[in-house]
C-alpha cells in the first residue's frame, strides 16, 4: 500500500482513563453503529486514490481495478449469507435495501395481489415504507408480537390470504435483539407462494445467516452495523426457487442488473466485503465472547438491584444485546448519570417524537417501564473491564436516582402505583 495514511485504532477516541485502565468514554451502543474495524479501513484505502476508477468503466484498467474490488466484496458477502454473487445488489445502506425490497416487490407483483404483512416491532425503514404503500392502495397487516418479542406463527398463517404478496419480518430487532423464527416464517411463505423479506441489518455478521436453508428471499444488509463503513449496504435477491423480481426505485444507468442504478461506492463496497470476511472468520468465537460479556453485565446488575426487568426473550437474542428496564428511574436521567458511557434509552425524552419506545410498548411493557429502559449493545471492541465498569456505574446511578424518586418511595411504603390517581394521566 503506497498511500501514506496512518490507520487509527478502532477504539472510541479515549478522553481519559479511570483507575482500572478503562478508557473513557466507553462505547456500548453497537446497535446504533459500530466502530470500523481497522482491517476494514486498511482494505478500503487504496480504493479512494490509487484505484479510484468507476467499476462500470469496461475499457480500461482503472475501471477493471475498481470492478475487481467490487466483485471480491460481492463474493465475500454472498459467502457469508449462503448466496451466489449474482444475488447481491449494492445499495447505500439497509434503509435503501428495505425500501427497494418492499417497494420493488409491491410494484412488480401488483397484478398478483396488494397485501403485505409485517410486524409492529419492525424498524421505521420497514414500517414507514409500508405506510407509504398504504397510500397507494396496498393493504398492510401489522402483526402484534408476543410478550417475548417473537411473532406468533399462527397469527402469521391467519394473516395471509390469496392477495398476500410479501411478508417482511426482521431477523433480529435493533432495540431488544430478539431473533425471529425466520426459518419457519420463510417456510410458511414458500408454501403459499409469498415472498419473504427480512431486514437482517442487526443479524448478519453476528449470527449465522443462510438464505437458502432459512427460506429467505430478500435480505437487507448494512455495512456500519458490522464494523464496516457507513453509507453502504446490500440487498440479497433470490434468483431461483423462487426467482424474485424487483422494480427499481432508482432509475438510471442500469447498474446492479437494473435493480439499483448509480455509480458504485467502490471503497464502501470493498469495506463491506472485508467486514463480511472478518465476520465469517471470527463469528463463532466472537459471538461466544459477546454472549459471555452480556451475561456478565446482566448478572452483575441483577445481582445488586431489585426490580430490574429484561425486555424481550433471552433465549432468542443477539449475543451482544441487553435491554433492561430499571423500575422507578427515568431513562434519560439515568443516561445523564452515566454520561461517560454511550448507550441508548427507550425513554420518550430521548426520542424525537416524545413517545416511549414503540417496540417495548408492543411487548406489553407499560409506558412507565418503557421510560425506564436502557439498551446496551456490546460489540467487538468492548472488554470485560469495560463491562464491569459499566455495571458499577449503572448500579450506583440507579441507586442514587431511586433515592430521588417519589415512585420508589411510594412503592417502598407499599403503595401500588397502579392504584394511584395521577394528575397528569390525561396527557
Amino acid at each position: 500500500m503506497s498511500t501514506d495514511v496512518k490507520i487509527p485504532q478502532a477504539d472510541t477516541q479515549a478522553h481519559s482513563t479511570n483507575g482500572k485502565g478503562v478508557k473513557l468514554p466507553i462505547y456500548m451502543d453497537n446497535h446504533a453503529t459500530t466502530p470500523m474495524d481497522p482491517r476494514v479501513l486498511e482494505e478500503m484505502l487504496p480504493y479512494f486514490m490509487e484505484k479510484f476508477g468507476n467499476a462500470a468503466s469496461r475499457n480500461h484498467s482503472f475501471g477493471w481495478a475498481a470492478e475487481e474490488g467490487v466483485e471480491t466484496a460481492r463474493e465475500r458477502i454472498a459467502k457469508l449469507v449462503g448466496a451466489t454473487t449474482k444475488e447481491i445488489i449494492f445499495t447505500s445502506g439497509a434503509t435503501e435495501s428495505d425500501n427497494l425490497a418492499i417497494k420493488g416487490v409491491a410494484e412488480m407483483y401488483r397484478e398478483k395481489g396488494n397485501h403485505i404483512i409485517t410486524a409492529v416491532t419492525e424498524h421505521k425503514a420497514v414500517l414507514d415504507t409500508c405506510k407509504r404503500l398504504e397510500k397507494y392502495g396496498y393493504r398492510v397487516t401489522y402483526m402484534p408480537v408476543q410478550k417475548d418479542g417473537l411473532v406468533d406463527l399462527d397469527d402469521l398463517k391467519r394473516a395471509m390470504d390469496d392477495k398476500t404478496i410479501l411478508v417482511t419480518i426482521m431477523y433480529a430487532n435493533n432495540e431488544i435483539g430478539v431473533i425471529q423464527p425466520v426459518v419457519e416464517i420463510g417456510k410458511l411463505c414458500h408454501e403459499r407462494g409469498v415472498i419473504f423479506h427480512t431486514d437482517a441489518t442487526q443479524a448478519i455478521g453476528k449470527v449465522p445467516v443462510d438464505v437458502v436453508k432459512q427460506n429467505i428471499d430478500l435480505a437487507s444488509i448494512s455495512g456500519h452495523k458490522m464494523y464496516g463503513p457507513k453509507g453502504v449496504g446490500a440487498l440479497y435477491v433470490r434468483r431461483k426457487n423462487p426467482r424474485v423480481q424487483l422494480s427499481a426505485i432508482i432509475d438510471g444507468g442500469g447498474h446492479e442488473r437494473g435493480m439499483r442504478s448509480g455509480t458504485l461506492n467502490v471503497p464502501g463496497i470493498v469495506g463491506l466485503g472485508k467486514a463480511c470476511a472478518i465476520a465469517q472468520e471470527e463469528m463463532p468465537q466472537e459471538s461466544c465472547r459477546l454472549a459471555g460479556l452480556r451475561n456478565r453485565l446482566r448478572d452483575r446488575i441483577m445481582g445488586r438491584l431489585d426490580e430490574v426487568y429484561i425486555n424481550g426473550s433471552m433465549d432468542h437474542r443477539l449475543p451482544g444485546n441487553l435491554n433492561i428496564s430499571f423500575a422507578y428511574v427515568e431513562g434519560e436521567s439515568l443516561l445523564m448519570g452515566i454520561n461517560d458511557i454511550a448507550v441508548s434509552s427507550g425513554s420518550a425524552c430521548t426520542s424525537a417524537t416524545l413517545e416511549p419506545s414503540y417496540v417495548l410498548k408492543a411487548l406489553g411493557t407499560g409506558d412507565d417501564l418503557a421510560h425506564s429502559s436502557i439498551r446496551f449493545g456490546i460489540g467487538r471492541f468492548n472488554t470485560e473491564a469495560e463491562v464491569d465498569y459499566v455495571a458499577d456505574r449503572v448500579i450506583e446511578t440507579v441507586e442514587r436516582l431511586r433515592e430521588l424518586s417519589p415512585l420508589y418511595e411510594m412503592a417502598k411504603e407499599g403503595i401500588n402505583l397502579k392504584d394511584v390517581k395521577w394528575a397528569g394521566e390525561a396527557h
Binding site: 409506558d367 421510560h371 417519589p406 415512585l407 395521577w422 394528575a423 397528569g424
Partner: protein, 137 residues
C-alpha cells in the same frame, strides 16, 4: 441533548431532596405528573402558620435531568417566600434560569404545577384543620 451547566449542577447536586410528614398540618404536599408520561414530581413545603412564610421545602422527582433540575430549583426558590410570593413563580422563570430547550418546557410547567399543588394542599389543611371547623364537621 446537551444540558446547560445549571441543569447539570442541579442534577449532580440536587438541593432539598427528601420527604416531610405529609400528615402534618404545617406541611403541604404536591404530587404531579404520571409514571406513564415519564415525569412525577413530589414537592413539599413547610409553612409557618403565623407568617405564611415557607420555612422548608423538599422534593423527589422521577423524570429526566431537566425535570429533576426544575423541581430542585423550585424548592430553592420557594424557601423563604410567603405562600403568595411562591404562587407568583412562573414556569418561564424556571425555563430562563435553567436555559431549558423548547422540548423541556413541560418540565418547568410541572414544577410550577407542583408548587401550586403543594400550596393548595396546605391551604386546604388550614381550612379543614381549624379545630372549630373540624368539630362542626
Amino acid at each position: 441533548m446537551s444540558y446547560s451547566d445549571k441543569v447539570i449542577d442541579h442534577y449532580n447536586h440536587p438541593r432539598n431532596v427528601g420527604s416531610m410528614d405529609k400528615s402534618s398540618t404545617d406541611v403541604g404536599t404536591g404530587l404531579v405528573g404520571a409514571p406513564e408520561c415519564g415525569d412525577v414530581m413530589k414537592l413539599q413545603i413547610k409553612v409557618n402558620p403565623q407568617t405564611n412564610v415557607i420555612e422548608d421545602a423538599k422534593f423527589k422527582t422521577f423524570g429526566c435531568g431537566s425535570a429533576i433540575a426544575s423541581s430542585s430549583l423550585a424548592t430553592e426558590w420557594v424557601k423563604g417566600k410567603t405562600v403568595d410570593e411562591a404562587l407568583a413563580i412562573k414556569n418561564m422563570d424556571i425555563v430562563k434560569e435553567l436555559s431549558l430547550p423548547p422540548v423541556k418546557i413541560h418540565c418547568s410547567v410541572l414544577a410550577e404545577d407542583a408548587i401550586r399543588a403543594a400550596i393548595g394542599d396546605w391551604k386546604k389543611k388550614q381550612e379543614t384543620g381549624k379545630p372549630v371547623a373540624a368539630e362542626a364537621k
